[in-house]
Symmetry: C2
Subunit: 317 residues, 2 copies
């Protein structure tokens, strides 16, 4: 048996998955990303372990790597990644040699969009926007099922649109980027800012050390009705709506799909986003405001899309 | 002799032009727009006078109307226009009947983009952005010379992207819209805020009444070296760069063309915009930052594009 593997490399997590020809995750392995201050090879070690573990001894036909960063138009390098250490190395060739298998490299949000258009919530026709919320915000523009890549292959970097002048500093070097207000990072920051001022189960969850707070803790606490966690989600959701309204003003898309790890919170995130989008969008009442739907493939969309690109690439040979 | 006429209806000015088959303005007439608080028919009266005057008694083959507002996908109505009184009337049919000639109706920035791609500064290939600065900011996305219209025909409404939370109120009903910081309106506001605090020829130009200040006064004063006027242009230019950086993050365009009345100031506007774009754009140093060029057709681009669409429409029959 031969299998296709997709690996999604985000700022916090690595998700490797064996993906069936119908886009289903057969098996998956999760690991922590070492961060952006380590050697590039340390991230590659984590990927190697994850790919080996998920393959379960089966022969790997090809691997697709979805990276949370700018991938060059040729798909050879991660040119720049705010949350990862890669800076222009021959990544695709290096991994292909190390793993002795064909490797396809693409931007993670573009992979997620490919997956959602092929198997998920994205309409295969018309102009659409896919927003991927994890540690940061990635994204892709779909035009009739095709990812609009832009001149440098960098279209869809929605997370680095500036929404707040002189706002929160961002790892990209800018300030006030959208993802500083609507992402897993923002979710933790918003919750942390309330700890010590308002009662919350999160104080206990993080052993009294707000620096230890994680997105998973906030998500779990919100599900349990914790008000601090719920307010953090409401803030992240509202900011999501503000940024979506900007994308609607610029692009007038037919649909919006929201994916990524944070989107697992579903309507706790999307309801405030929809409300704010409706409030902020220009020409409301004179236009159809596009539906905001959760990605159907959940947090695995990036890995599924990466495997899909690996499969297509193999068929093209 | 038969002629094609293009009429550009902005928030402040109406420009009617007879346009040659090679995209040149043969004759033009300028009039003031009555504003958004008048009857819709008052604007149509102004258009009628302008079209009649510019035609100079020659037979009009068709008229293209470029409107500073949302035009429905069928090109029949101005659905909503922050600076104009139209709200869904059968505008195209009404003008065609009144003028007894075929009429084509399109968004003004889309018209300008069509003109720039056909005769001007826009590359006919690749993904590009056209930003039109007048009373507000209009825009268009060009993909291989074609305007990307979006689901409601409203793509390219860049001016209503929110850049400042709880910022300046906008006629669209929102707050902190880009065009409140980068437009003719913003230019006047920035200059006005300095009057009385800093010496300026503008105090005299407006007879001591800052409410009488116009964009033309600020433009003339800046050309004469007036510091208040120059600082106003620098601010508008910097904000132009901030918004362009957001569009580059989202779209990664190959080129950016800036047109509209305010762009007549040329590099006084574009140099600070280029500097700020270079400073704000995500991944600077890891990407090609697109060139920001002045529209080649100047303030007449909307009228030229409208006439071009009228001409194409006639040839299609």
């Amino acid at each position: 048996v031969t299998v296709y593997v997709g690996v999604d490399v985000g700022g916090s997590k690595v998700l490797a998955a064996v993906v069936s020809p119908s886009g289903e995750v057969v098996r998956s392995v999760m690991a922590r990303t070492p961060g952006r201050l380590v050697q590039a090879s340390a991230v590659e070690d984590v990927l190697t372990d994850a790919v080996r573990a998920v393959s379960g001894g089966e022969t790997i036909e090809a691997v697709g790597v979805a990276a949370a960063g700018f991938v060059d138009p040729a798909g050879e390098r991660v040119v720049f990644a705010p949350h990862l250490p890669w800076r222009g190395e021959d990544l695709r060739a290096r991994l292909a040699e190390r793993w002795d298998t064909p490797v396809v490299l693409a931007n993670d949000a573009n992979c997620a969009a490919v997956a959602e258009a092929a198997y998920g919530a994205a309409d295969p026709d018309g102009l659409g926007v896919v927003v991927t919320m994890g540690t940061g915000i990635g994204g892709a523009i779909l035009l009739d099922g095709r990812v609009l890549r832009g001149h440098n292959g960098m279209a869809g970097e929605f997370g680095h649109m500036q929404l707040v002048p002189d706002g929160e500093p961002c790892e990209c070097g800018g300030r006030g980027c959208w993802e500083q207000y609507s992402s897993g990072t923002a979710l933790i920051r918003f919750a942390r800012a309330r700890l010590g001022h308002e009662p919350s189960v999160l104080a206990e969850a993080c052993d009294g050390d707000p620096d230890q707070l994680t997105g998973a803790m906030v998500t779990a606490a919100a599900a349990d009705g914790d008000l601090v966690a719920r307010k953090a989600f409401a803030s992240v959701g509202e900011w999501l709506g503000v940024g979506l309204a900007n994308l609607v003003a610029a692009l007038d898309p037919h649909f919006i799909v929201v994916g990524g790890g944070v989107s697992a919170a579903g309507n706790r995130l999307l309801d405030p986003a929809r409300a704010e989008l409706g409030r902020c969008v220009v020409g409301a009442g004179h236009r159809e405001v596009p539906p905001v739907v959760a990605a159907a493939l959940g947090p695995a969309a990036g890995a599924v899309g990466a495997a899909e690109l690996a499969r297509r690439s193999g068929q093209a040979h």
